[in-house]
């Protein structure tokens, strides 16, 4: 770098710094600007400022535009993933719903593709539309080595991976300014995740809203069967019982409607069935905007439990409806 560049750089940084400090002072109502930690080394000098492209074709830089001074949730995925990523995206969509229009204002969600060759901005746009993703959540692509670098920097890269499709199914959430980063699972309870991203990471500047309250009001909770547990953590992001789900069909009565052998296989390896051009699979795929049913790696016991749950839950909903009267 020449001396001139350095000086320009210095002025720009100083001006930016001043602006941030003033902005922070204004937004925080005059209280001392928080978070720029002495000795913090997890800021501009740590994160690469690689260029990425959003689903709308806009070029953005990772550090300057996406994370600097922001509270963020970042996960890595790819659109042709037919196992867990669709469930992950659907789950994150629940988190987005909890956070409402804060996403894009003081909380930012980013899904970065690890298959940039195939995941062009158009493909990502289509993917985000399939999931009916709300505004403020960006789907990003870029150069493969840049994205690999980001994964490494965020601690989400596993060396010596034999299968390139395997990736770290994970979410990292953080407050860049205070240097607080936590690795979470997208299968965490969406209410808890929304609490972590929306409240905790802001040092609770935003009051929490989804707590049950004091001890006296703490709910006592019935035991969950294995099937119900799976339903609540895996299915509920896309499906519902008694109405159309946010992204997939209503499951009320599905155990009656579908042939049991077909249903059991569908829960176990829907991607395989779609590849084999099973007629029901194709019909569902077309009907639901080409959003595939994900392969959730369930074993036989899980599938049996889930089917039993769906059957009994359907009966419960039915009897509720009938007892409610015509």
């Amino acid at each position: 770098m020449t001396g001139f560049n350095v000086m320009r750089e210095g002025w720009r940084t100083a001006a930016a710094g001043l602006f941030v400090a003033v902005a922070a002072a204004i937004t925080l109502g005059g209280s001392p600007a928080e978070g720029v930690s002495k000795g913090s080394r997890w800021r501009a000098e740590y994160f690469p400022n690689v260029p990425l492209v959003t689903q709308d074709g806009e070029v953005v830089h990772f550090y300057d535009d996406l994370i600097k001074d922001k509270v963020v949730a970042i996960n890595f995925m790819f659109t042709s993933c037919n196992d867990v990523c669709p469930a992950e995206t659907a789950r994150l969509k629940q988190v987005q719903r909890e956070l409402g229009d804060r996403v894009g204002q003081d909380v930012f969600m980013y899904s970065i593709s690890i298959d940039p060759e195939n995941d062009t901005p158009e493909v990502l746009k289509r993917y985000s539309e399939k999931f009916k993703v709300g505004p403020g959540w960006l789907f990003l692509t870029g150069k493969a080595e840049d994205i690999a670098l980001l994964q490494r920097k965020l601690g989400l890269f596993i060396a010596d991976l034999p299968d390139p499709d395997d990736h770290n199914v994970n979410l990292i959430v953080g407050n860049e300014a205070t240097g607080r980063w936590m690795k979470r699972s997208p299968f965490d309870d969406p209410k808890v995740l929304a609490e972590v991203i929306g409240s905790w990471l802001h040092n609770w500047k935003v009051p929490n809203k989804s707590l049950a309250g004091k001890y006296e009001k703490a709910p006592s909770f019935p035991r969950l069967s294995r099937g119900e547990y799976l339903f609540r953590t895996r299915c509920v992001s896309c499906h519902a019982l008694g109405s159309d789900g946010p992204l997939g069909p209503d499951l009320l009565g599905v155990t009656e409607e579908r042939d049991p052998v077909w249903l059991a296989r569908w829960l176990k390896e829907p991607d395989q069935m779609l590849a084999e051009k099973d007629s029901i699979a194709l019909e569902l795929f077309a009907r639901y905007d080409e959003l595939p049913m994900p392969n959730l790696s369930l074993n036989d016991v899980d599938v049996a439990a889930l089917i039993d749950y769906l059957a009994s839950a359907s009966r419960d909903v039915d009897s509720e409806n009938t007892s409610a009267g015509p």
């Binding site: 978070g35 670098l149 395997d166 205070t178 965490d188 808890v192 909770f221 294995r226 016991v301 439990a305």
Partner: protein
């Protein structure tokens, strides 16, 4: 804008993510090692202090109160007094400042313990506090000497008195009999630690020690004076904390559950009953002379419980959800010595070796001292060993983005870079704790010529063993691999050496990264400086693991006293016993519930975050609202700990000590055979292996505990699970606390399906008993047509009137030969004699049995 190149990962990722830690001219063995400074617990008298106030307020959002203000507050009695349920009546002591830094608060609480009954002190009246101590977790500051007067030795007795080796606290002028003015520095030539870079109990050096006695319950009042701004942390660590006493038999609300953390400005009262495990079940009339404690006059007082569960060497440290590694690394570590009539820190009274048959001679008389009736530390030394790293300014450094394991590149003992300790030419006891983030040690003891010096191990994980184990022995030349949080107590006899001789502790275990150890370097290679043990500022910093090598020097000094401590050679296998192992009867083992926990990267593959797979289910990371296991109080279980990754995991189970039944399917080695442990190593080292079977009991207390990998980086991301002890038949599940600035709210808890019954499957049909709707027949498809909870195989009660009788028989007959799935009892598609057999079995009986609740 140029794209950064992906750097070549270094051959040795130590320190993880940074350049070598500069030494500022420090050389090995040039500073005197700290002896731990006692908290100095005092007798507890309930009282209201009319002149006391809340903790002094923080001056601003990025710092805590001044050292003087903190010291003054430490000296005052507790105010407000401890309460059984959390004190939510008064506001957070820093309420006003928090409102300025964060936002207006509708409410706040002075105590951070969750409110209500769930986190009330269990059995508080029964175990009413006898002793108490206060500490304030704060940023690094100069010691004001406020604890000088609380040291048991009073800087007047034995080696801590004016002619003793440990009278001067750091080995330079002006520090006789006081710790005042000791700065927080890893070496005198290194810079002082910034208050944001190092956080510890009181904020001061030397590191702190709690000396606790059985039968004297403790009330520990822990204040948080860390900065309100979470970014004021020098790049790592979180200002909300929770303290876990490893491995106390403590009630759950005082066990430091990872989700019940507290905030700056608050305090959290921990109640440690100091009872023997088995208190409610064994020796309940307190008649066993060996289950006893001691008072200051040397009188023995008997207590209830199983004396064979006596514990000795513990530590306590932060356990904050997702931030345990940086917080513990940042200084939130203290040690705790448990004293009892059997291990009382006195080597002269009631010694067992003098008259082993006499029940009054229960004192094992380990090397300690004799000036006081108990708790002499003259020859009983705590060693906290850990690897650290610092930046080019000498400030503590931690890599928050490494999720495999963090390695430091400089070895410290008691927070000091390679110190020396003067020792008398007699026996010593060393309580060695591995307090690293991710590093394992293999410690050898050598003389100045590089020859191994024999020694004995007397306690494993802080529990005195049935027999002492000599080293070297047939199974190992040196102490076993020591994982994070494992404690080994050893006895070394310096009497065969001359004044002026030097001995060394040497670490042999090389790491390339924080996932697991690589291999033990042969001792001659290390000792002859062929490995890495050269001058500190060697040029090829990336060519070796700088934490392999000598790290502690002992300088032998003449001893003119009489060593009356026990000789461990008289207690090895085949000779006298120290503390016999509490046995599990064959019946208990046969009836024990089994649970299995597999540690790896999600469901046993190497592709996802660190997880624990419970009972064969999905692999999970930590979710504090998820309850993974719930043994019933008063029962015994067998837990199978398995490794499904190529990495190493020291698995720690809270609350109870366990006995290893098998390691890798075979009997355990001699140092585990005689031991009770609480950290179970799985991993690639030869003395570790991939599976451990542990027998455990669950007694006295109910509530939430944890099991986790103690490589704290793994723990944070997130190899940690919650298990609860429940009353048999308990229906209400403990809600999950969610602490905030405004107080603690509660979240719903949900459970894993196998949490109640483990992975028992009576009929072996692949469906565990807690879910199996027909427990006596093999029905993997669990078909239950009428949805009454009884699988078809167990349910010929077609009319659902609770009994199988003629009404049902009619239906059965009418369906004969058909394929009616609701009548088909054996699910083979036709109603015929196969079903008749089942029907007959149930005639005039109720349906079932269904799932075991």
């Amino acid at each position: 804008m140029s794209v950064a190149q992906t750097p070549e990962p270094p051959k040795f990722d130590s320190p993880t993510g940074a350049s070598p830690s500069p030494l500022f001219g420090a050389t090995p063995f040039t500073q005197q090692m700290f002896r731990f400074e006692e908290f100095g617990a005092q007798p507890y008298e309930p009282s209201e202090c009319t002149t006391c106030g809340p903790m002094p307020a923080a001056p601003d959002c990025q710092s805590g109160p001044s050292g003087d203000a903190l010291d003054h507050y430490l000296d005052e009695p507790m105010s407000p007094p401890p309460t059984v349920m959390a004190n939510e009546d008064l506001p957070n002591a820093w309420h006003t400042r928090i409102e300025q830094c964060v936002r207006p608060l509708a409410t706040s609480a002075i105590e951070g313990r969750p409110g209500g009954e769930n986190f009330a002190h269990q059995r508080y009246e029964e175990f009413f506090p006898s002793m108490y101590f206060k500490t304030i977790t704060a940023g690094a500051r100069i010691n004001g000497g406020v604890r000088d007067e609380y040291q048991r030795h009073g800087y007047a007795k034995g080696e801590f008195g004016p002619n003793g080796l440990y009278y001067n606290t750091i080995g330079t002028e002006g520090f006789d009999g006081t710790t005042a003015k000791i700065p927080v520095k890893f070496h005198p030539l290194m810079p002082e630690q910034d208050p944001l870079a190092f956080w510890t109990f009181d904020g001061t050096f030397p590191p702190k020690l709690l000396m606790a006695r059985y039968g004297h319950p403790i009330l520990f009042r822990h204040y948080n004076a860390l900065p309100i701004d979470p970014g004021a942390n020098y790049g790592f660590g979180l200002h909300t904390i929770t303290t876990h006493e490893h491995n106390g038999h403590n009630p759950a609300e005082s066990d430091g559950y990872t989700q019940s953390f507290f905030f700056p400005g608050q305090y959290f009262d921990y109640h440690w009953p100091m009872i023997l495990a088995g208190h409610d079940h064994i020796n309940i009339d307190a008649s066993d002379p060996r289950a006893a404690t001691i008072d200051d006059n040397g009188n023995v007082r008997r207590i209830r419980g199983d004396w064979r569960e006596t514990m000795s060497t513990h530590w306590f440290h932060d356990h904050m959800l997702d931030f345990t590694a940086p917080n513990v690394y940042k200084g939130q570590v203290a040690m705790m010595n448990y004293y009892s009539a059997v291990d009382r820190g006195n080597e002269a009274i009631d010694c067992h070796y003098a008259d082993p048959e006499n029940p009054n001679n229960m004192n094992l008389c380990f090397p300690s001292g004799s000036a006081s009736a108990w708790g002499n530390r003259d020859y009983d030394v705590n060693l906290m060993v850990s690897d650290k790293a610092w930046d080019q300014d000498g400030q503590l450094f931690f890599n928050i983005f490494n999720l495999d394991g963090f390695l430091g590149d400089r070895m410290t003992v008691n927070y000091q870079y390679k110190p020396y300790l003067e020792v008398r030419a007699r026996r010593y006891r060393f309580r060695i704790l591995n307090a690293s983030v991710s590093r394992y040690f293999k410690i050898a003891l050598i003389d100045q010529n590089g020859n191994r010096v024999p020694h004995h191990m007397i306690a494993n994980d802080g529990n005195v063993m049935e027999h002492a184990v000599p080293f070297p022995n047939a199974e190992s030349a040196d102490l076993p691999t020591q994982a994070i949080a494992e404690r080994y107590d050893i006895i070394v006899d310096f009497s065969q050496f001359q004044p002026g001789d030097k001995l060394y502790m040497v670490n042999l275990l090389e790491h390339r990264d924080g996932r697991r150890p690589k291999e033990a370097i042969p001792l001659p290679e290390v000792v002859l400086n062929q490995y890495c043990d050269g001058p500190p500022d060697f040029a090829a910093a990336d060519a070796c693991d700088t934490v392999v090598g000598r790290f502690l020097e002992f300088r032998v000094v003449a001893y003119t006293g009489v060593d009356t401590s026990m000789n461990p050679a008289d207690y090895v296998e085949g000779k006298k016993k120290m503390i016999p192992l509490p046995s599990f009867t064959a019946e208990e083992l046969a009836n024990a519930k089994h649970r299995s926990f597999t540690f790896g990267r999600s469901s046993g593959t190497d592709t996802s975050p660190w997880t624990i797979k419970t009972d064969g289910g999905q692999g999970f990371g930590m979710d504090p609202a998820r309850l993974s296991a719930a043994p019933d109080e008063g029962t015994a279980e067998i837990w199978h700990i398995k490794n499904a990754s190529g990495s190493a995991h020291p698995v720690h189970i809270h609350f109870e000590e366990g006995q290893i039944l098998k390691r890798n399917g075979k009997p355990p080695p001699i140092w585990e055979k005689w031991a009770r442990k609480d950290v179970y190593r799985i991993g690639p080292m030869p003395d570790s292996g991939d599976s451990v079977e542990v027998a455990l009991r669950f007694r006295e207390f109910l509530g939430t505990y944890m099991e986790h990998c103690h490589n704290t980086t793994h723990e944070d991301h997130a190899m940690l699970l919650r298990w609860d002890i429940e009353k048999p038949g308990q229906l209400k599940i403990m809600p999950t606390p969610m602490p905030t600035w405004e107080g603690v709210g509660y979240l719903d808890t949900y459970t894993l399906p196998t949490y109640k019954t483990g992975d028992v499957d009576e009929d072996d049909d692949g469906v565990t008993d807690d879910l199996d709707n027909c427990r006596e027949y093999i029905n993997p498809n669990q078909r239950d047509t009428d949805g009454d909870g009884y699988g078809n195989w167990c349910d010929p009660d077609y009319d659902n009137n609770g009994i199988v009788n003629f009404g049902d028989f009619n239906r059965f007959v009418r369906a004969w030969g058909s394929a009616n799935p609701d009548i088909d009892l054996n699910d083979d598609g036709i109603i015929n004699f196969g079903d008749f057999v089942v029907f007959a079995h149930y005639f005039y009986r109720p349906p079932g049995p269904g799932a075991k609740q």
